[in-house]
Symmetry: C2
Subunit: 308 residues, 2 copies
């Protein structure tokens, strides 16, 4: 019966806060039986997710971008752009980005980097290749639906920890905050080296127009603190550009320099409950329950353990 | 016939960029006839909006928040929360916030400030008052619809330069990035002094649960660069809290310290065209047109002129 899930709420932080999420870390489980007819809050779900509901980030498809303020880690999803994945790994492998900069930062939109202002000739990698904007055919993993009323597609959800939309046999990665993609000119085959990361509200109108094939897993705060351009173009004067010390593949780093990042399995029971909870918001703090969540409203939880 | 709108595109920035938006400032109008059967791009629309499509920000309802890194300006919409507007103006008038801090910053979510860790007794203002989460009755201005398929309401759009949703005779301000609102505890009447600003993807699930009554008009980059908390609660250790030098009402500042901020009139022809353009993306860069935009996907343009 009373197979409910309880947790003690911390009165001080609640009185200041926006909701029970503030209690994270101070929550204490009372019931050991748990589950039940009552949804847990998003924070509780992440807190108690079993080890089997997490996977290790793929170090062989992860880019460590070393900025002045710290390291940003991006995990790629090769199935979304196999040729661009190979290419950027080749570029990173030859040190193409080392000493370049993030030279365009638009408030609440994107931060873009590469060799635009310091042109280099790639050796192993290529400067441009045909876009991989959409994929078709069999899905590359288990699809966990988030939104059957997606405004930009028939359905959206997650595969392998990445936000994916699908429509009529096509699928593509969505421009949620933290998405990693390649800039291009008018020619759809003109992208290859210049990369950007999405800041702020999801610019979904760019979906299906560029190659999106990765997500920030760690260090998003370093991206948020980059120098920003002063006009709508976001272009930075030379002295205000944000230096890229270097970019390395996780698997090319000494073990002790890798971050042991775990990503919640989006095909897990924990993630499905998280989607439900993000939509229905069971916490007593809410006087009005939304009953809806969009795909970018369910960021995939990550956690960092000991060096690996 | 060929009453079309042309503009020269700047090849260099386009080759680097995400689209013709990069050409802003370098665009040259060729056709003087303009308008026509072809939509302009969002950037062009802002660039050529006539003076009559802008209004001056209301200095008597604007808060100048002075942070270490610069000043953030927030315009309030009193009609959305008349009692809270009076109260925060009273608090600001008595210097309540001077020397306090922004003590909770959650990556991609909110930054919250007030006297939580340095309690003060308001003199003119009140510590808490009943929430003004929704309003009902006559709309306080011309409603410009953006989204008739809003996921959280029957309809969403803008009034007086603020994002508003409406449903069944009720209306409320939406949690777009840059929204200004008051935190509270479990008691819906417990908010009053602790304020937050939305960072990142719109947390629409908070709509109708708190008093939202303002929007950042200037200096959002200072908010993006605040020290952030290291866990999900976003709480900052004392030495990492972000000091608030002071908060002043625009109309209480000497003329020369005010910023001459113009806000695009959301009831103007320019803004209506902007909404259309944000949805249909007429630029040739786009190989796929979204045909949809959500209310937070049409940030209200602002511009800063000489001191006023």
């Amino acid at each position: 019966m009373s197979n409910r899930f309880f947790f003690y709420r911390c009165c001080i932080t609640r009185a200041l806060g926006l909701g029970p999420g503030l209690c994270l870390g101070l929550a204490a489980l009372v019931s050991s039986g748990a589950i039940a007819d009552q949804l847990r809050s998003p924070y509780e779900i992440v807190d108690i997710a079993p080890q089997s509901d997490w996977r290790a980030m793929d170090q062989d498809n992860s880019l460590y971008i070393e900025l002045a303020s710290g390291t940003v880690v991006i995990e790629l999803f090769p199935a979304m752009a196999p040729r661009h994945t190979d290419n950027i790994k080749a570029l990173v492998g030859e040190g193409f980005y080392d000493g370049l900069s993030i030279y365009r930062v638009v408030e609440g939109f994107v931060a873009q980097g590469g060799d635009a202002h310091d042109p280099r000739e790639p050796r192993a990698g290529r400067r441009s290749l045909p876009g991989e904007f959409i994929q078709r055919g069999e899905l590359p993993g288990t699809f966990t639906a988030v939104d059957d009323e997606d405004d930009f597609a028939a359905q959206s959800g997650y595969i392998n920890g990445f936000p994916i939309a699908r429509d009529g046999g096509l699928f593509w990665m969505v421009h949620c905050p933290g998405a990693f993609a390649l800039a291009r000119g008018d020619d759809p085959a003109s992208g290859g080296t210049e990369f950007y990361v999405v800041l702020g509200h999801a610019p979904r109108y760019l979906d299906r127009n560029v190659t999106v094939f990765g997500a920030v897993r760690h260090g998003m705060e370093h991206y948020q603190q980059l120098n920003r351009g002063v006009d709508a173009s976001g272009q930075l004067e030379p002295q205000r550009r944000n230096p890229i010390k270097r970019i390395r593949l996780g698997s090319a780093l000494p073990i002790e320099q890798r971050l042991a990042i775990d990503v919640m399995r989006t095909e897990s029971a924990s993630f499905s409950e998280l989607v439900q909870s993000r939509s229905r918001r069971p916490e007593s703090w809410f006087v009005y329950q939304p009953g809806y969540v969009d795909v970018c409203g369910v960021p995939v939880p990550t956690r960092v353990g000991e060096g690996r």
